[in-house]
Amino acid sequence: MNSYGNTMPKSGSSSSYLPVPLLIERVARLTEKERLFKLSANGRAFTFDPGQFFMAGLPGYGEAPFSIASGSGKAAEADGSFELCIKAVGNLTNAIHRLKKGDTLWVRGPFGRGFDVNGSSPLRGMKGRDILFIAGGIGIVPMRGLIKTILGDRESFGALTLVYGFKDPEGILFAGEMEDWKASGMAALLTVDKPAPGLSPLKGWKGHVGVVTTVIPGLEINPSKTVAVIIGPPVMYRFAIKSLWDKNIARDDIYLSLERRMKCGVGKCGHCQIGGIYACQEGPVFKLSELKDMPDAL
């Protein structure tokens, strides 16, 4: 048991909750709901892995976790700037959407464990392997960071395939960039959810129709060479995992980024706890094999 002596704050240690102001260099409207904010590093040397997140907020509106949408490693911006893609869903995110170039966003981070692209962490690493990216909806945001990082070092990886599902053809994110990704040697299969009867959000869409799991069975996959990455809305995971198992991909080779409510980002507030782990510390990126015996993980 600790006596108070062991837990005295180390001198110089500071509040975990104090954010830093970052200048918004650019705001790009991607869709009606999503905007991409480019944040200047203001001389701070942020280093991060794809899949990590920042807590970003505005005084009076609170803060929330947002994934890093930029690439790292060779794909990182030389000036340390990075992007967050924010979907307007509520109080804070709508307030952030009202910000313009030159305004300030308050951030803390980066937090969490991201993707182990280089194999430096206990995750097995992704170099030399075929990579299957499975993104649903806003899940394309952290996936973009990962894709850019991997494309920045294209020769180190095998075949790259993106399966990206969304609800509404007008809601496709990064459609323009996707052409560049394809040109750099990544296959991209886009699919729109089947519209509910009576609704027709297809809006002239000529591509594949159906949830992402309807695309996976048709893919040619070498299970011993492939790492699959799933990021999407909570409902997507179980079905996507099942279709990967049908392709004989091992639990160790399936990576997931899990969304949880997060209030502190530093492993204290308890909201993101899944079994014995904190999604903000040991995650949000996990290998499926790490999530055994956790009834509420997926």
Binding site: S14, S15, P59, G60, E63, G267, C269, H271, Q273
Partner: protein
């Protein structure tokens, strides 16, 4: 060997009065006399401004002492929107908490680990560093089960610990028996405080016998218990996800969060912004949250990772006996019985645990 010395009631009064003169003092009191059945109030913690306020109870308080280290509402930041400033707020005053029982002292030790782990939480730790803890002995009621989770005794985590003694004849054999306490200290700070404000004498063998007899009686008085060794509970809980127990208690639970509030080791919190009426200045505050509350694990889009009350109780119980043990090296239930005592529908944590143990053993025999 622990060193005991004797503090007469008179000297104890001097100690408390000395402390109230120099520190913010909290301690055990009796509250709401009119509402309590016996008319003498409920055991609770409160501000002690004079010696008479302090009532050292033998049974646990309804709420724990965690609010003095981890307040129910706490300012983390102050901000000014026009001036574009954020300032960290770390508030800590020299304070003393008197009357913690061994389970509560163990609970503070667990909170210390939680807030020191990883990136240290300066708000908690600054307050903790300035907090003097004075513990006292106790007697179990029908909910207490510290004996089953190895938190019945403490030899660290407090500054001063008080064992009640009575009936010691004064030297001349005249006058009333001299009641008081055998005291032990676990820190230099405790020693300093004790010698600064009061005069302790050498403990007599008779007094030592008296507290040994009291401790024996205490040990024999437990009616609530857990029917498996404490070290086995993480394993038992980890095999209990499919137990019908969760459905059953989930069906009666109100999801009120009282069990989280009263628990000395429940530390989850929410963070939110509060604006002043000038709509310019405001504070980012943290407030207690509870994993039994409906929205606790809900994310944007409405998905709730623990939708049912059964899910949420399974989570809370596992946090006490399984989920946190790996990270912090201890059970997170100290057996104070507060959650069982407070629960409106009599969900009793030791009984629920025993049910899981029975199921576990039955499965093993199969």
């Amino acid at each position: 060997m622990e060193k005991f010395s004797f503090l007469s009631n008179k000297e104890f009064r001097k100690l408390v009065e000395g402390l109230t003169g120099s520190f913010t003092v909290y301690g055990t009191v009796r509250k709401d006399a009119r509402l309590s059945a016996a008319g003498d109030g409920f055991p609770a913690y409160g501000r002690i401004s004079c010696f008479e306020d302090l009532v050292l109870g033998l049974t646990p308080t309804h709420l724990s002492a965690k609010e003095f280290l981890f307040p129910q509402r706490e300012t983390l930041l102050k901000f000014d929107i026009e001036k574009m400033t954020h300032a960290a707020v770390v508030e800590a005053v020299d304070q003393v908490i008197i009357g913690l029982h061994p389970c509560d002292i163990h609970a503070v030790g667990l909170m210390d680990r939680v807030f020191a782990y990883g990136k240290p939480d300066v708000n908690y730790l600054a307050r903790r560093a300035k907090t003097v803890i004075i513990g006292t002995d106790c007697m179990p009621d029908r909910f207490c089960f510290c004996k089953s989770v190895d938190t019945m005794n403490v030899d660290a985590g407090f500054d001063i610990f008080l064992h009640r003694v009575k009936g010691v004849e004064p030297p001349q054999g005249a006058g009333p028996p001299q009641n008081g306490f055998l005291v032990r200290t676990a820190t230099d700070r405790g020693k300093t405080i004790l010698s600064k404000y009061a005069k302790a004498k050498k403990a007599s063998l008779k007094q030592l016998d008296e507290i040994a007899a009291f401790e024996k009686k205490r040990e024999d008085s437990f009616t609530a218990h857990i029917d498996a060794p404490a070290g086995q509970l993480p394993e038992i809980y980890s095999k209990s996800d499919e137990s019908p127990v969760w459905e059953r208690i989930g069906a009666i639970c109100y999801g009120c969060g009282s069990c989280n509030n009263v628990c000395p080791t429940c530390y989850c919190f929410d963070v939110k912004d509060e604006m002043k009426s000038n709509l310019n200045e405001g504070e980012r505050v943290r407030v207690w949250d509870g994993c039994t509350l409906e929205d606790f694990a809900k994310v944007t889009g409405g998905h709730n990772f623990r939708r049912t009350r059964s899910d949420r109780l399974r989570h809370r119980f596992n946090r006490k006996f399984n989920y946190l043990t790996g990270r912090f090296g201890a059970l997170f239930c100290v057996g104070c019985g507060r959650c069982s005592r407070t629960c409106l529908v009599q969900i009793n944590i030791s009984e629920v645990t025993n049910e899981l143990i029975r199921e576990y053993n039955a499965k093993k025999r199969q």
